[in-house]
């Protein structure tokens, strides 16, 4: 089935999504842990990877790249706001 087709953008995106997941796993599994906590730089990196993965899914898998701008802005705006708030809550000094 797949062998008959040339790799397309959606195939490369699937590979990129898996690689980004592997990187997040590597960071969280111990590479960036200090006394059980993820460092600030690693937290930023993990959330940046999440934003990248989310944007690729929205633009290419949901085909919002070619959809009306309103829908594209709504989904990407949701992603940006949620990631920003999670980042803020993760990096703020603990009370």
């Amino acid at each position: 089935m797949a062998a008959k087709m040339k790799p397309t953008r959606v195939d490369f995106i699937a590979i990129a999504l898996v690689l980004a997941t592997g990187l997040s796993w590597w960071l969280g599994e111990g590479a960036a842990l200090t006394q059980g906590h993820l460092g600030q730089a690693a937290t930023l990196a993990v959330l940046a990877l999440a934003a990248l993965k989310g944007a690729l899914i929205a633009l290419d898998y949901m085909e919002l790249r070619h959809a009306p701008a309103l829908w594209r802005r709504a989904v990407l705006g949701w992603l940006a706001v949620v990631i920003a708030l999670v980042l803020l809550a993760s990096l703020l000094p603990r009370p």
Partner: protein, 176 residues
């Protein structure tokens, strides 16, 4: 219509995501204890299964658009396999927690973990049912270039489930 559903779901989950992050900021010890009981590798495996299902769903819609009806049905079956794989892995995680005496209402972590992962699990169940129905119909060749709205809408629903997990995975499993 599927896009209105997508926006409503994104807003509801968005509130839960931010609630989880804020509660963790306010109660770091409770969340550190709760997250210590989560298996990051299982979460990563489930991410790969969701991505595989999303990729297969995109391929299925593309196949129907090119009138490759048999290939489209096979891609839908692969997407269904990814969804069922997620349910098995996640079900194993839930069973392990219940076996260990997990109480969903013990503290902020257990309540928010249960709401987030539980609601997401239910959405994967719905996605799996959609893939199964689409595959059942596709076996008789009903979807093609002039009739692919149903598989395209089902794929959009699944991509939303995937998109939600892309935030849920780092939030609940990775950042601690």
């Amino acid at each position: 219509m599927v896009w209105l559903l997508v926006l409503a779901e994104l807003l509801a989950f968005g509130l839960l995501f931010v609630s989880f992050a804020m509660a963790r900021w306010r109660e770091p010890v409770v969340f550190a204890q709760g997250q210590a009981g989560l298996d990051l590798s299982t979460g990563a495996l489930n991410t790969v299964l969701l991505v595989a299902a999303s990729w297969a769903a995109v391929r299925a819609v593309g196949a129907f658009q090119r009138d490759h009806r048999v290939a489209g049905a096979r891609w839908l079956l692969l997407a269904l396999g990814g969804a069922l794989g997620f349910l098995v892995v996640k079900g194993h995680e839930f069973a392990g927690k219940l076996g260990a005496g997990f109480d969903w209402a013990t503290d902020s972590f257990t309540v928010l973990y249960t709401l987030l992962t539980g609601f997401h699990f239910l959405h994967v169940v719905v996605g799996a049912v959609i893939f199964a129905l689409l595959w059942w119909n596709a076996r008789s060749g009903v979807y093609g270039p002039a009739n692919h709205v149903a598989p395209a809408s089902g794929a959009v629903f699944w991509h939303m489930v995937d998109l939600l997990w892309m935030v849920l995975f780092p939030l609940v499993y990775v950042i601690r």
